[in-house]
Every structure is written in structure tokens, then in C-alpha cells.
């Protein structure tokens, strides 16, 4: 074997090595196999942790009574039944509650997203006197534990006669930028608007578009992702909240005739003694197994609208990337 041959072999070897390395670790434009494996393993593991309780709930909500009472059928129902769902729909008065709940959650969410995006834009785009003061107030509203202001806030509500069992208090607070966790929404929008190149907005303003139009036509479309996220968050918060909803509706109004939410209806299911005494010590909680399946089915039904909403909205993430690619830098 000549030296040249050996060199050639060596080179081939290194090329093969390189290729292997490239395939495993990836290059600038392609992810390597190893990296892919790591990513999928991580994603699947964590997804499993998040899915586990939901799957558990789902499988139990499909079980028949005999399955539920049988310890060996912990996961898979031997026979699938829709009766729990039928029962849950009846007990929660589902379609009626769902409709009321949609009104209670959607109306303030829409207001909250709009107002918070405006406020975030105002803070990010303009310089004005007392701006730092108002920013400090915003942060204070974020970090002050709610325990300290809940009583005076309730009194303000009562003085203004807001809690009248309608959707009014939800909308009014949201329009005035004081919806559930509105501070976080403002901060998210503030961050996004800050990243919008000012030259774009200024150009529009100089073109005579006016300040509001520049915000509406240029700045807002550039932060679709923020709109998606804030819409999702607000909707979930309004959907899941029970303590404040009771307060906003006026404590007497949360009965069948007034407005209600699915979570409040779901809470009626709960055995009161689960919550009272569990905090004190750890023993098994009372489970009335028969109602348990209905409760699981009810919980699934209660979070289903949220999941559907998210699945629809998450597609916007991809679109907004492209849009930013076109109009952005």
C-alpha cells in the first residue's frame, strides 16, 4: 500500500467521521440525530407529566361503575361508557352554564386584551411626565399581595353598587384596565411594543396616518403573538377564577337563576370535607366514588373549551412569524 493510498484512506475515514458527526450533532441548518433524540425524549417526558392527570381523569370519566370500584382497572376501562358525561351535562346544567360562562369570560377578555395593548403601547412608545410614577404603580399593583386590598376593593365595589349579578362589573373593570391579572397583560404588551422598530411607527405617523392609526395598523399587527398569549391567559383566568367571580357577582347571586361559571358549578360537586380538613393533616380524602366519575367528566367538560380555544389560537404563532418577516426588518 502506498503512502498516497493510506492518505486517501485516512481522508475517507475523516470524511466519514465528519459525516457521522454532522448527522449526530447537526450543522448550522440541520438538526442532528442526537439533538433530535434529546429534544423528543425531553418533550415526550414532560408532555407525559402534564398529560398524566388529564389522561387519568379522561380514562376514569369513561369508566362504568364496576370499573371504578375495581382497583385492578386503574387505567383502562373494560367498557367505555358515555353515561358519566350525560350525567355531568345534566348535573352541571352544562349548556346553560357554558353559555353563561362564555359571556362572563369572553366579554372581559376582549376588553382586557384591547385596553392592555393600548396601555402597553402608551408606555412603550411615548415619553410623558409622571411616566415612571405610573410604571411604579403598575409594578406595585403586581407585587402587592391581594389579601391587603381585597377588603377595601370589595367596599369600593359595594359603594359603586357594581356587584349586581350581571356581567357589568367584569366589563367595567376590564375596560378600566383592572381585569384579572391585567398587570401581567400590560407588561407583556409593553415588552412586545418596545421591540417594534420605532422607525416604522414614526414613518406612518409622518405619512399623516395619525397616532392611533399608526398603533392600530402598524404596531398591533406586529405583536400578534402577544395578542394570542394575552387572549389565552385572560380567557383562562376568567374561566378558572371562582373567588373573585363570586365577589363580582355579589355573594347572593351565584345561585341557579343568576350568572354562573362551570368552575363554580363544579365546586358544588366537591365534598366540603375534602377541603376543610385536608390542610390539617394528610389522610385519604373522602371519595364518594360514584360521584367521582361524574366529577371527572364534569372537569373534562369544564376545561374542554379552553383546550379547543388554545388549539385554534396556537396556529397564529406560525403566522405571526411570517408577518414579522415581511413587515419587520
Amino acid at each position: 500500500m502506498s503512502i498516497a493510498d493510506m492518505e486517501l484512506k485516512d481522508r475517507k475515514k475523516t470524511i466519514r467521521k465528519e459525516k457521522f458527526k454532522k448527522r449526530m450533532l447537526g450543522s448550522a441548518d440541520k438538526r442532528g440525530l442526537l439533538m433530535s433524540v434529546v429534544i423528543y425524549v425531553l418533550l415526550v417526558t414532560i408532555a407525559f407529566i402534564y398529560l398524566y392527570p388529564v389522561l387519568y381523569m379522561f380514562s376514569r370519566s369513561l369508566m362504568t361503575r364496576s370499573d371504578l370500584l375495581d382497583a385492578s382497572a386503574k387505567w383502562l376501562p373494560s367498557q367505555i361508557t358515555g353515561k358519566n358525561y350525560q350525567d355531568a351535562i345534566l348535573t352541571l346544567d352544562y349548556w346553560n352554564s357554558l353559555w353563561k360562562n362564555l359571556v362572563l369570560a369572553l366579554a372581559p377578555t376582549v376588553c382586557q386584551v384591547f385596553i392592555c395593548s393600548m396601555v402597553g403601547y402608551g408606555f412603550a412608545r411615548y415619553k410623558f411626565p409622571l411616566k415612571n410614577f405610573w410604571m411604579a404603580v403598575l409594578i406595585l399593583a403586581f407585587l402587592l399581595p391581594t389579601q391587603v386590598t381585597s377588603l377595601p376593593n370589595y367596599l369600593t365595589f359595594s359603594r359603586l353598587k357594581l356587584a349586581d349579578g350581571t356581567v357589568k362589573p367584569f366589563v367595567i373593570t376590564a375596560v378600566l384596565g383592572q381585569g384579572f391579572k391585567s398587570v401581567l397583560c400590560v407588561l407583556i404588551f409593553y415588552n412586545f411594543h418596545r421591540q417594534t422598530p420605532q422607525s416604522l411607527v414614526e414613518a406612518a405617523e409622518i405619512d399623516g396616518a395619525g397616532h392611533f392609526k399608526a398603533y392600530w395598523r402598524i404596531a398591533l399587527p406586529l405583536c400578534t403573538a402577544a395578542i394570542v398569549v394575552v387572549t389565552l391567559f385572560s380567557f383562562v383566568w376568567y374561566w378558572n377564577e371562582t373567588t373573585l367571580v363570586r365577589e363580582y357577582l355579589g355573594y347572593g347571586h351565584t345561585r341557579a337563576k343568576g350568572l354562573t361559571t362551570l368552575m363554580i358549578e363544579l365546586q358544588k360537586f366537591e365534598d366540603s370535607y375534602n377541603t376543610t380538613f385536608d390542610a390539617r393533616a394528610s389522610s385519604v380524602t373522602s371519595t364518594n366514588k360514584i360521584n367521582d366519575a361524574i366529577r371527572m367528566a364534569g372537569t373534562m367538560l369544564a376545561i374542554a373549551p379552553l383546550l379547543i380555544l388554545y388549539f385554534v389560537l396556537q396556529k397564529q404563532f406560525v403566522e405571526s412569524v411570517d408577518r414579522a418577516g415581511i413587515t419587520g426588518e
Partner: protein
């Protein structure tokens, strides 16, 4: 002193938010009139006034709301902390009194604050524990949620499916659903066996192993509590201009380099936002032992609402300091110099990429 406070100062406290709101509104009206009357002039003063007016136009509803619904509550709760609050046919505020050295009855408005120091012996220890836990958890939560967001943003199969699943913690951790699940004992997934960790850590010195095993035991909890952060990062990633990635690719930068030089600088403000959010939720969440102390004090017969209000205010100051420290650590160093906050992020990202090759390539592209 106490007398003067109770008679002259404290009763005014309630009006501050409304007076503030009124003054700002009056100033705005005056500025509006001025701007309308002398609109033709293009002086810096004019510009400044127009900018301010537009700024206030955008924040106006929020400003009104925060004065009515938040600042008034803040003023009230501050007020309560200087009194003894009784629920007797509505809400009664009783001035705090004590005896001076000569045995005379005197007003002592600060008594609640002083007795927090005297009575809450567990307060400092709980606070220190909380601070240590915060320092350990914050980087883990931020790093974890950033990694997840990056993965969810990449080209993976079943992206919509994965994204939907990673939204679950947002739905579940904030609602009564969580209670349902913990009642069923399913939220503690047996993923990380405690025993394995303990045996691994047994060789280490205690001051290292204890916090680490604590962290692991809270891993599941951290997973469940980072849903919001993941989504904020995911949304933030949509803001990274795709052109920059393309330029980097042409430059031959590896994925690792692209991450450090483009993605991370662009996400810096999101990291700051997420850190603030995480600190605040950890500090004010119902699982925080200090919030527990405050809650207990609120309904304790010898302490009461006013005392708890004083406690909360002291705690708020501490959390604010913690937040300030977080802010100072994470915020960009250049922020001090650069006044134009608008271009900063994009520019700094680009600065990272400023190789001549890229510039040339971009120029050639433009020319073509």
C-alpha cells in the same frame, strides 16, 4: 405627634388617589387646550406636549381604573394599618392608644408596625428560607421554560399537539382543577424517585445536597408552575426577525452561536418579564409560608386585620427590594447608555452578528 397624625394626616390619605387623578386630568385638559390653540408652531415644547397628550391618551382608561380600584384600596389598607379595625355594624377604625412613661394615654399610630417586630418571631427565619428558595428556583424555572419554548418553536413533528399539551399547566395550575387532581393524588407523578436522588446525593456535603434534593422534590411543582413563562417565551420567539437567522446561516454560524448571539439578546426583555412574574408569583402565591403567616395574623384574635395590613406592607417593601435586585441583575448593561429603548434590542442583536461577511452578503443581496 400621634394626635397630629390621626387628626391632620391620616384622614387625607383616602383622598390622595382621587386628588392625583383630578390634578392629572386638569393638567391634561390645559395641555390639550394649549396644543389646540397653538398647533401651528413646531417647537420642541409643542412636540413634547403632543407626545405627552398621546401617551396619556393611550393609558387614560387604565389610569382612571387604577386610581379608583387599586390606589384607593392601597390608601385604605395603609390607613387601616395605623388603626385598629373592627367590624361592628360595618367597618370601624379605632385609633391606637398606649401609655407613655408618665402613665398618660397617648396615640400610637405605629403600634401595629412595632408589634410585628415584637410578636412575629418566626418572620425573619421564614423570610430567609423564602429568599434562599427563590434564588434556587428562579434560574431553574427560567432556564427550563426557555428550553421548552425553544423546542416548541423549532421544527418538530406534531408541533400543534405538543404546544397544546404544554398549555395544560396554564389551564390546570390556576384553577380548581388542580385541587381536584391533588385530591386524587395524581399530580405527584412518580417520575423522580426520591430514594434514587437521596442515594446519589449521599456522598455530597450536606450544605450542597440539601438544597439540591429540595429542588428535586419540587421539580414537579416547578414543572406545573412554569406554563405561563413557557408561553411568554414562545410568543417572544415570534418577534425574532427571521431575516437575522437567514443572515446568520449565510455567515455559517452554528445553531449554538445563533442562540447566543441572536435569540438570547432578543429575548432578554422577555427573560426580565418572566423573572419579574416568577418572583411575584412565588412571593405572593398562596403556597408561600409568609402569606400563610399574614393570613393567620389577619384572623387571629389578638392581631387582626390592621396588624396583618402592617405586616403585608413590610413584606411588600422586602419583595420590592428583591424584585429590584432581580431587575438589576438581568437588565441589559447597555441600557444606561442607550436612550432610545426602541432600537436597542434589535441593534444589540445585530451587533452580535456584525461580521463583514454578513454585511457584504446582505449588500450583495440588496443589490440583486
Amino acid at each position: 405627634m400621634g394626635n397630629w397624625l390621626y387628626e391632620k394626616v391620616l384622614p387625607l390619605l383616602e383622598y390622595i388617589p382621587y386628588v392625583l387623578l383630578g390634578c392629572v386630568c386638569l393638567a391634561l385638559i390645559a395641555a390639550l387646550i394649549y396644543a389646540l390653540v397653538r398647533s401651528s408652531q413646531k417647537k420642541p415644547v409643542q412636540r413634547f406636549i403632543r407626545e405627552s397628550l398621546w401617551g396619556y391618551f393611550f393609558i387614560f382608561p387604565w389610569m382612571v381604573g387604577i386610581c379608583i380600584f387599586f390606589l384607593s384600596g392601597v390608601a385604605d389598607s395603609l390607613l387601616y394599618s395605623f388603626y385598629n379595625l373592627k367590624l361592628d355594624n360595618g367597618l370601624q377604625l379605632i385609633p391606637l392608644t398606649g401609655e407613655d412613661a408618665a402613665g398618660n394615654v397617648v396615640y400610637t399610630p405605629l403600634a401595629n408596625y412595632i408589634s410585628v417586630f415584637n410578636k412575629e418571631l418566626n418572620y425573619p427565619v421564614t423570610l430567609a428560607n423564602f429568599a434562599v428558595g427563590l434564588i434556587l428556583q428562579l434560574p431553574v424555572i427560567i432556564a427550563f421554560s426557555l428550553i421548552i419554548a425553544l423546542m416548541l418553536n423549532g421544527k418538530i413533528r406534531g408541533r400543534g399537539f405538543f404546544r397544546t399539551i404544554f398549555f395544560l399547566p396554564v389551564i390546570i395550575a390556576t384553577g380548581p382543577v388542580m385541587n381536584q387532581l391533588t385530591a386524587q393524588g395524581v399530580s405527584s407523578v412518580p417520575m423522580v424517585s426520591q430514594n434514587v436522588i437521596t442515594s446519589v446525593l449521599s456522598g455530597m456535603p450536606e450544605f450542597i445536597s440539601t438544597p439540591i434534593s429540595d429542588l428535586f422534590s419540587q421539580l414537579i411543582l416547578i414543572l406545573w408552575n412554569s406554563g405561563i413563562q413557557i408561553l411568554i417565551f414562545l410568543a417572544g420567539l415570534q418577534k425574532v426577525p427571521t431575516a437575522m437567522y437567514e443572515a446568520a446561516k449565510i455567515d455559517g454560524a452554528s445553531g449554538w452561536e445563533t442562540f447566543w448571539k441572536i435569540t438570547l439578546p432578543t429575548l432578554r426583555s422577555m427573560i426580565l418579564l418572566n423573572s419579574i412574574y416568577t418572583v411575584v408569583t412565588l412571593a405572593t402565591g398562596s403556597t408561600n409560608p409568609i402569606i400563610d403567616l399574614i393570613y393567620n395574623a389577619t384572623y387571629a384574635v389578638t392581631k387582626g386585620y390592621s396588624y396583618a395590613a402592617a405586616m403585608t406592607w413590610m413584606y411588600t417593601v422586602i419583595v420590592a427590594v428583591l424584585l429590584l435586585i432581580t431587575f438589576l441583575i438581568i437588565r441589559e448593561k447597555k441600557e444606561k447608555k442607550s436612550k432610545d429603548i426602541w432600537r436597542r434590542d434589535v441593534e444589540s442583536a445585530r451587533r452580535g452578528m456584525q461580521s463583514k461577511k454578513v454585511q457584504k452578503l446582505l449588500e450583495r443581496r440588496k443589490a440583486a
